[in-house]
């Protein structure tokens, strides 16, 4: 039952509270969020003993009803969702844009995202994703200036095209197997692995691939996540948790179809290329929000790459990275929001001397950067250790190394704004600092207590010795030195980056890429 309440409470409660006046509505939204936290604690208590909870709405059989399932892995994502939304609401507490309409949309989105993680039949998934797409596009254009209206509209149209592909795929699966339930489909596909599932596979993977922004289909993401005028919370929740729904579904459908169609190598390469293109684009940008947005693309690439490696530990590493990326990327976006607010510019070459002007915020940024680049003792390192644990072939380890160095490169550029001089000293609101602190502390904890958390999450034993830490530290410092040297001596001379910065992909081109991707999936 709790699973259903987690979805329904924010949606119904949010809608009812919208009827109140501004002040009362705001109070009741924060109350609903507190209730959500209580519900999530109950949920955590229930699934702790490796129980799998299923709940079918309306008491139908699971074959025809709307089913929610909570197991060991997706319960963590639900907890993460509620946690992140709480932090974002704390951050937004005093903001002028955070009126009752904004909170209403945010709360509905929270319910829907929990629903996407828990839904166990593909049609419910389709409906939830479609509704969340509309809400996200409204949130993107919340401040209603012309640039954000274009970005929001582009986002909505492209994603609806993707979801149309997805729904045809659903139709095919239903036609072949006569059920929409994912658990049943999983069993049926294993039994009938000789059936030709190429067409539904291509349709569905195109849809969820677009949602998760993998290689040719990522051009909508920076526009949506990095829109100049969107509130920082919206960017943070899009990059932090919403893109993870797409990635989670992508990984889930990859596994679902794997008995019939095994394209491990293809997905490995797609993940690698996504990561590379992501950091190359991130390096070429000057707008801090766009740098972070492209960086999300590259991290999605890493997650898909890790999962496609196929080993058990790499799979855990991908899931771990989904969680920790949500934490540090939202921390980065929120701090970027503060910076843009104070400096009144998004251009990275004009922002200097953060250590002098906002020392506390810059410490938080440093923690997030160290986490994302995989420095030892920080959260990113644990997922990278898990992913690289069972890498066997040398080509895979070279690919992993390139992704690692690329991440560091793009963040050397991002960290230039910490140094330099600044005459002013800015005062930051307390609630924003609290929000940032929660995220940073979690980033640190996920790194320092990595072994225990991995054991708690997946039941897998990870043993980190002192020698390993030493080894990781040396490699990290080496990579960082390479990154700094590259930035100082090579970066300015490469004209490719300027070219990339000026390219813009139109709506027609994006749909063309979707079609090409679909055709590729059919062919290989």
């Amino acid at each position: 039952m709790i699973a259903l309440y987690l979805v329904l409470l924010p949606i119904l409660g949010g809608t009812l509270s919208y009827l109140f006046n501004e002040k009362l509505a705001k109070i009741s939204y924060y109350l609903i969020q507190c209730l959500q936290i209580v519900l999530v604690i109950f949920l955590f208590d229930q699934v702790r003993n490796d129980e799998i909870i299923t709940y079918v709405v309306g008491g139908h059989t699971s074959n025809i009803g709307v089913e929610f399932i909570v197991d060991g892995i997706n319960s963590k994502f639900v907890i993460l969702t509620v946690l992140l939304f709480t932090v974002l609401l704390i951050y937004d507490f005093k903001k002028s844009y955070s009126n009752k309409l904004f909170l209403f949309l945010i709360l509905i989105l929270e319910g829907i995202i929990s629903g996407i993680f828990m839904a166990n039949d593909i049609f419910t998934l389709f409906v939830l994703i479609e509704v969340s797409t509309i809400i996200v596009s409204i949130l993107i254009m919340f401040k209603k200036d012309s640039r954000s209206i274009y970005d929001g509209m582009l986002y909505l149209l492209i994603n609806i095209v993707g979801m149309s592909f997805f729904s045809v795929g659903i139709g095919y699966l239903y036609k072949i197997f006569g059920t929409l339930n994912i658990t049943l489909l999983r069993e049926l596909i294993v039994v009938n692995s000789d059936l030709n599932l190429r067409l539904p596979f291509a349709f569905i993977i195109t849809g969820v691939g677009l949602k998760s922004a993998i290689m040719p289909l990522f051009s909508w993401l920076p526009k949506a996540h990095g829109t100049p005028s969107a509130p920082p919370t919206v960017s943070a929740l899009l990059s932090g948790i919403y893109i993870k729904c797409g990635v989670y579904l992508f990984l889930m459908f990859m596994t679902l179809f794997s008995p019939a169609i095994n394209l491990q190598l293809f997905f490995e390469l797609t993940g690698f290329l996504t990561a590379v293109i992501g950091f190359v684009f991130a390096l070429s940008q000057k707008d801090i929000k766009l740098i972070l947005a492209y960086h999300t693309v590259s991290q999605v690439g890493l997650i898909v790459f890790g999962y496609a490696l196929g080993t058990e530990y790499a799979m855990y590493g991908s899931f771990y990275h989904i969680t920790v990326h949500a934490l540090f990327k939202s921390s980065l976006f929120l701090s970027a929001g503060i910076i843009v607010d104070k400096y009144k510019t998004r251009n990275i070459t004009e922002i200097r001397g953060l250590f002098k002007s906002m020392p506390f915020v810059s410490v938080m940024i440093v923690i997030a950067i160290l986490s994302i680049t995989g420095a030892p003792f920080f959260s990113g390192s644990i997922s990278k250790i898990l992913i690289s644990k069972d890498i066997k072939t040398s080509s895979q380890s070279v690919m992993f190394l390139i992704i690692n160095i690329g991440t560091i490169l793009s963040f050397v550029k991002y960290s230039t704004m910490l140094f330099g001089t600044s005459e002013k000293r800015f005062k930051v609101d307390l609630n924003q600092l609290v929000a940032l602190t929660i995220l940073s502390v979690l980033c640190l904890l996920m790194g320092v207590l990595g072994e225990h958390i991995v054991y708690q999450f997946f039941g897998a034993k990870l043993h980190l010795t002192f020698a390993m830490y030493l080894d990781k530290t040396v490699t990290f410092v080496l990579h960082a030195v390479i990154g700094v040297l590259f930035y100082i001596f090579v970066y300015e001379r490469v004209s490719l980056f300027t070219k990339i910065r000026n390219t813009d992909v139109s709506f027609n081109n994006v749909v063309f890429f979707i079609t090409i991707f679909f055709a590729t999936l059919l062919m290989i």
Binding site: E130, I134, K144, S146, V161, K175, S506
Partner: protein, 114 residues
């Protein structure tokens, strides 16, 4: 594969063609609607034979058509309508700002603003 399924797929890709080849925003929205119609037709082709009767008020359940795809399609139609409504609203807003219905002209005018 029966002929309804093939027709539905052809209509679907006509919609995709419209999205790729036409620069008019209005036509993009219409193409999306064409795709949506194709999806509805596609779901209707599931388990379809000419002998089946409508599942509502069916006197004999054994000849009634499978009601599940039809129930799903009501949802798809509702979502389709709301998506169209939202995109049209956004389009009106965009048109008021830039005074054009062309994707590339919108991008050009946006560059001029910067």
């Amino acid at each position: 594969m029966n002929y309804i399924e093939v027709t539905a797929l052809i209509i679907f890709f006509i919609g995709v063609y419209g999205l790729v080849a036409r620069k008019n925003i209005m036509k993009s929205i219409i193409s999306l609607n064409i795709m949506q119609a194709a999806i509805v037709l596609f779901f209707m082709s599931i388990d379809f034979t000419t002998e089946t009767t409508s599942p509502i008020n069916a006197t004999d359940v054994s000849v009634a058509a499978n009601p599940l795809p039809q129930a799903l399609m009501i949802t798809v139609i509702v979502i389709g309508i709301s998506v169209t409504a939202v995109t049209l609203t956004m389009f009106i807003n965009l048109y008021h700002k830039y005074g054009t219905t062309n994707w590339s002209k919108v991008v050009m005018k946006m560059r001029d603003e910067l």
